[in-house]
Amino acid sequence: MMAQTIQSNQADQNDMFYEDDNTAVEVVSDSRKYLTFVSNGLGFAIPSDYVIEIINEHFITHLPRVPDYIRGIINLRGQIIPIMDARLRMGHPASDHKKETCIIVISVNDNSIGLFVDKVLHMIDIPDDAISEPPVNNNQEFVNGITHINNVVYLLLDCELLLK
């Protein structure tokens, strides 16, 4: 199931901007733009308002004595930004292959932080009424919604909780 979703996303990637335009016209109810990415084989979405930029490779300086999900800090054009590993933050094992890894720089309440993810997918519009509450006995403490768009399931990540 997951392998299929990712493949379909890759196929979509080229005409992602078209897709954005189309959905924007179609949508009747209120919708927001989301950035989607993959971490530990799961599709996640974060509101694009938080996203500052996406950077590829960057040398991360290790910071001692912090929780392991803080991979360290980077120097982004003179700004010091901490890097949080999305996998480790959510209690998943660290990834071993580094081919497509990316850092999504997000800004939450004036705190800039880099989110280290396996792969960035694309921007999508998610109508508010397409988002369902996660199940009550959900173990994913950072997820505040689930949506099903174009046959792909995305977990909506609560950025503010990530930084708590």
Binding site: L63, R65, V66, P67, I73, N75, I80
Partner: protein, 697 residues
Amino acid sequence: MDNGMQNMLEMYLYETNTMVEQLDGILLEAENAGTFSVENINEIFRIMHTIKGSSAMMQFTPLSTLAHQVENLFFFMRENGGHNEIGHDLFNALFRASDFIKAQIGNIENNEPLSDDIGDLTNEIQAMLASLQNAMAGESEENNPQAANTANAAPGSSRFCIKVFFDEGVGMENLRSFMLVNTIKDECHIDAFEPAGIETDQSTATQIIEQGFMLYFDTKEDLDIAIGIVESSLNVRAYESLELESVEAPEQGPAESPATAKTEIAAVEASRDNAPAKAEPLKGGPVQAQAQVPAQAGAHPGKQNLISVNLTKLDKLMDIVGEIVITESMVTSSPDIQGFKLDSFTKSARQLRKLTDDLQDTVMSIRMVPVSGVFQKMNRIVRDMSQALDRPAKLVVVGADTEVDKTIVDSIGDPIMHMVRNAMDHGIEESAEERIEAGKDPTGTITLSAHHTGGEVIISIEDDGRGINAQKVLEKAKNQGLLVKSESEYSQKEILQLLLLPGFSTNENVTEFSGRGVGMDVVKKNIEKVGGVVSMTSEIGKGTTTTLNIPLTLAIVDGMEIVVGDSIFTIPLHNIRSSFKVASQDIIYDSAGGEMICRMESFYPVVRLHEFYGLETDVTSVEDGIVIWIEAGDKSYCLFVDRLLGEQQVVVKPLPNYLYAFNIKKLGIAGCTILGDGNISIILDIPSLYEAAVSRI
């Protein structure tokens, strides 16, 4: 519009704050001298006048009312003297007025409404003025004619002037001028002429050629007659007739002693203008005088060229300069140009280096302000407490012109105040008798000193009081459960450090000034915030000294780059005593397995940075790495690292706020810096690394 108002308010607050500080300074000085000098009175009058004016403009009525009353009082004193008659009440009232203004400004800054509860104070000041007026009423009558006489005699009071130029190359200008003077003298009254001594002094001729010959007259009639004579004189090329304003007159007036003439004339002018008013009830006086005062103040010599700049702009500038320093080393040490022989590039790079160094020094110096402002305020605290507690004490200030970064000055004000209060309240003996018995000067002395050493500024607060009873401190700490080891293990130094713990207060009674037990730990916290260290020494019967070691500036430090595994760390250079290689037999173990090294006959614990920070490295045996002996305040220990990279000037950047949630500050990480190659180096905080690594071993 709103923004403009905000700017105006900021300007007002800044200006008024400065003035009130000045006022306090003058008051203290005058109180020490026991009387107001003429300059003091003029200065206070000027300050009050300005505060009155700007407060009225900003519609802060209570402030302008109060300032107006004080201004009235000082106006009277300036004209008639008599300040000695009021004596001490005057000082107290003025201090209260200054306090009131300060409190109101505080309210304005915090957006709180102004209090208009100034009735008592204004009444008191008015009463003083009234009593002065009564006392002086008889004398002022006599003074008037005298003032009028001097006004007539003073040459500078002339209202009219003719400037005469003779034909070019005519020769003997001085004698021609003399002739001219003689001719005019026959017809009317010449007040004065310039240059003087024309009939005897040949050299005046040159001055006349260059600047013309000046004739001063008192009345318009005289001037008109003189112009007629000048016009009909031979050899006169041109003349100018000038009508002088009272303040300008002295500037063109007799050249013998311009400075003295200036003040003298200005004073005479003022008294002459007011002469008619004095005969009447004195109320009307001030109004007429006001116009004169700003003009006088404006002519005051030695006014500095200052502008006030918002601190955030300076912070921004500092940031940019920091970036430039980094970028510069990025460019010059770029890997792309390594190995090439680039003569002109190297030359330009060196030039650039020099310029950025200059730029950095300049920016730093802009941010430097003397600590005198902070020290000045302490005078006031000592004075007030000395009166309230009835303990004679004086404050001695040493090195008030020592300069430190503006941010540091702002954050040391409160700690120093706490400590001065402590010294007054707990340090100095309760009565002069007690001091005499102990063989000391009955007046207690608190010495506040500041000086530079290397990268630090050292501020110490020293009292010659009874000192701290270590045994009592220890008992108290024990009762409060603050001890972490057995009583007998505490050294004198450690006991004094207990005083800095939160919730510790030796004083049984809470007084108005101190004793709530929130003092010293606040001091410690504030000083640590700016990277400083607090230490205390005390000797029973002799006094207590509290010392603050504060880094001169926060933003740029000289550091030693060190490597542990893949990580680079920066140790501030001023923390490093030395670095050396050791053999494994030099390592001494304590009973808990902790490592120590003996240096200069003392033993110092060794912290292996790779172990403490859990870093992977190949260098684990002592022979392979290097040991750095570091110290901060009274803490001294050794760090074991892989190798040294070298010295570098680094720009301290704070870590993202988010990371401070993990308490890394307590683990010896002060911040980070960006190196020339774009990599990040972590700056170690030597005191907190000690707490974290050594205290817990």
